[in-house]
Amino acid sequence: MFSFRKKSVDPAQEASWFARLRQGLRKTGSQLAAVFGDVRVDEALFEELETALIASDAGLDATRHLLERLRARVVRDRLETAQEVKAALADELARLLAPLEREFDPTVRKPFVVMVAGVNGAGKTTSIGKLAQWLQGHGLSVLLAAGDTFRAAAREQLAAWGARSRIDVVAQSGGDPAAVIYDAIAAARARGTDVVIADTAGRLPTQLHLMEELKKIRRVIAKADPTAPHAVLLVLDANTGQNALAQVKAFDEALGLTGLVLTKLDGTAKGGVIAAIAQTRPVPLAFIGVGEGIDDLQPFAAREFAAALLD
């Protein structure tokens, strides 16, 4: 069994994605970095830190938690320079985020069935395209199921992604999303495909009938294979504010999430809401999207993420 993060990613590639994440997060970083000049450790420093964390969407609770821990640490370790405080904050942030680090291993089953859900416009279909590419890069065969039978041209969008990386897409015109995904799993089994990724239509958690539909899709997947779905991923837009917490909660309650995908980290959005999620509803963060290119989807690493955020 090979480990995805540790061995199969070569160091050069790793360095490059770290650079990209860092570049993506540079805005946050510069904001935070501006805080750590050669200032002495005083109340103004903490206030500025609080501002920076809140501006990253970390939320009030997580911000308060981090600052409390930081204050205790400043006293305990007798930190004196702003640099030391910065390192301590990065460490506290990494500690908070560490439980979200979980290896995504799609080789435990065959076919490994991944169900993808999220609100409208979070970037589900794009993320699926990137995820498929990532899996292919690790030598796995992939089949996509066009389960978004609702939105105009969603199927065509997935098909275009499939064509780009030469991946088959199972689709029906119109019809029932659960049936499309069921067929895709059957097809994958027949063809000996390694991974099936099922797209679903975007929905807001307040649309209760659509949340019920999602539960039904999950049940039908279990009919095709009693052990499936092996992964249920929620795609979150890094631009989202505190509502991301409500999304995680609602989708987790409906589906039992195994992981999150945080997209659009290449903009000025900080994705600090992950800290709030780690604080109140720690669902593992499987992948982060750090760019628009097809291989800009990367596994999440807490320490790197925290470091890049504070760089």
Partner: protein
């Protein structure tokens, strides 16, 4: 997780109930609560800071009207300022130019531009009786053009075909020419989602704007957006002469603080709100509802409003004076209170509007909060003479029988009312001031069937 702002203000203001004016000292804690509520609603921090300073300025010296507590009065100020900041009356589209009037859509990826373009086209065709043409300049995202084509067919409007191989400016020019020669009133131009920091893409949309000279350049914003809304709005506002904002996905449960951030940064009116994926899900934007939503305070605002409207201020003062002294509060005054309650939509609706903890307390005695019981009490009082209302101790057995017959209730109910009224008078003597909540609690005991 999100505490009702009013509850939190109630906590913060506990110590100062009964003060007649808002002062720097007595609103400091409450303003901190407002700040937190706004941050939890995703209003961007710089906007929050400015807003709080503004509210503070406006609130100082504000009189605490009628039966309101200072906390409620402050909520009133916050809500008024928030509504004002988000613009007064809903602004429509400005399309009074030589046709075809161009509407350019701009925004981040996934903010809902294409769906909104379809909704706008349908709105233009249906309500405004225009002949719109839609075109997609999104040559980047796979199947984006296909999506707009489907949406246009659903909306029953004309679609100008484009291909991913073309340059967006060329597509736009051809579409404009087509619209002109085919007598379309409005050309809706959908564009690719883009990041504010993506310079080539921002340059591209600026070029589109220059080539099209749109009547409306609309910035599409996701209601779920967080703190970064300020940066994005700044970037789009700098690259494009925006004329308005459309807030999408308002049918979710996000508090929508981004609306305030974007309004504040761009200074442009929010023209529409998008709800749902169906093409008729486009609504006029209501600043006051959005203000209440951002504050997360349900209907307490309408209670504040009702209290303002319903309370005759002089009458309220006279009553408060009586209550404070603990004497002279008679059945006539009590009847006045019941009528005031009715003006506010009756007991049940009043309870609905109360902050949770009071509503809960009230719900524990459901019969007490029955509007019919309230009407019966009023009927009993109506059957009394003026002298009897002023001096209930006059009412002995034969008067009771007369009153009961007049009101159509058993004598026991008259007895119960009198007993409870006596109890209430006693309670009022203990009360220093007559805040609304105290009045409520007192009312509860007074009503037939209530806990005694």
């Amino acid at each position: 997780m999100l505490d009702n702002l009013t509850q939190r203000l109630a906590r913060a203001m506990k110590t100062i109930r009964g003060e007649a004016r808002l002062t720097e000292a007595n609103i400091a804690d409450a303003l901190r609560e407002v700040r937190m509520a706004l941050l939890e609603a995703d209003v961007a921090l710089p906007v929050v800071r400015e807003f709080i300073a503004q509210v503070k300025e406006k609130a100082l010296g504000e009189e605490v009207v009628g039966s309101l507590t200072p906390g409620q009065a402050l909520v009133g100020v916050v809500q008024r300022e928030l509504t004002a900041l988000m613009g007064g009356a809903a602004a429509g589209l400005e399309l009074a130019v030589a046709p075809p009037a161009v509407i350019l859509m701009a925004g981040l990826q996934g903010s809902g531009k294409t769906t909104t373009t379809g909704k706008l086209a349908k709105h233009l065709k249906g309500e405004l009786r225009k002949k719109p043409l839609v075109v997609s300049c999104d040559v980047y995202r796979p199947a984006a053009i296909e999506q707009l084509k489907t949406v246009a067919a659903q909306a029953g409007v004309d679609f100008f075909p484009s291909t991913a191989g073309e340059k967006p400016v060329d597509i736009a020019r051809r579409a404009l020419e087509h619209a002109r020669t085919h007598y379309h009133d409005v050309l809706l131009v959908d564009t690719a989602g883009r990041l504010g920091i993506d310079e080539p893409m921002m340059k591209e949309i600026a070029e589109l704007e220059a080539a099209l000279a749109p009547a409306e350049t609309l910035f599409v914003v996701d209601a779920m957006q967080g703190q970064d809304a300020v940066n994005v709005a700044k970037a789009f506002g700098a690259a494009l002469p925006l004329t308005g904002v459309i807030l999408t996905k308002l049918d979710g449960d996000a508090r929508g603080g981004a609306a305030l951030s974007v309004r504040h940064v761009t200074g442009k009116p929010i023209k529409f709100a998008g709800v749902g994926e169906k093409l008729d899900g486009l609504e006029a934007f209501h600043p006051e509802r959005m203000a209440a939503r951002i504050l997360g305070m349900g209907d307490i605002l309408s209670l504040v409003e009702e209290a303002r409207k319903g309370v005759d201020e002089a009458e309220a003062k006279r009553l408060a004076e009586k209550v404070r002294k603990g004497k002279g509060f008679d059945l006539e005054d009590f009847k006045g209170q019941i009528q005031q309650m009715k003006k506010m939509g009756g007991f049940a609706s009043l309870v609905d509007k109360l902050p949770a903890q009071f509503a809960q307390a009230a719900a524990q005695s459901p019969q007490a909060l029955d509007d019919r019981a309230l009407a019966r009490v009023e009927g009993i009082i109506n059957s009394m003479t003026r002298a009897e209302r002023a001096r209930p101790e006059l009412i002995k057995a034969s008067r009771k029988r007369r009153i009961a017959t007049g009101a159509g209730v058993p004598v026991q109910e008259v007895n119960r009312l009198l007993n409870q009224f006596a109890e209430m008078q006693k309670m009022m003597k203990q009360m220093q001031k007559g805040g609304l909540q105290k009045m409520m609690r007192a009312m509860k005991h007074l009503l037939p069937g209530g806990p005694r």
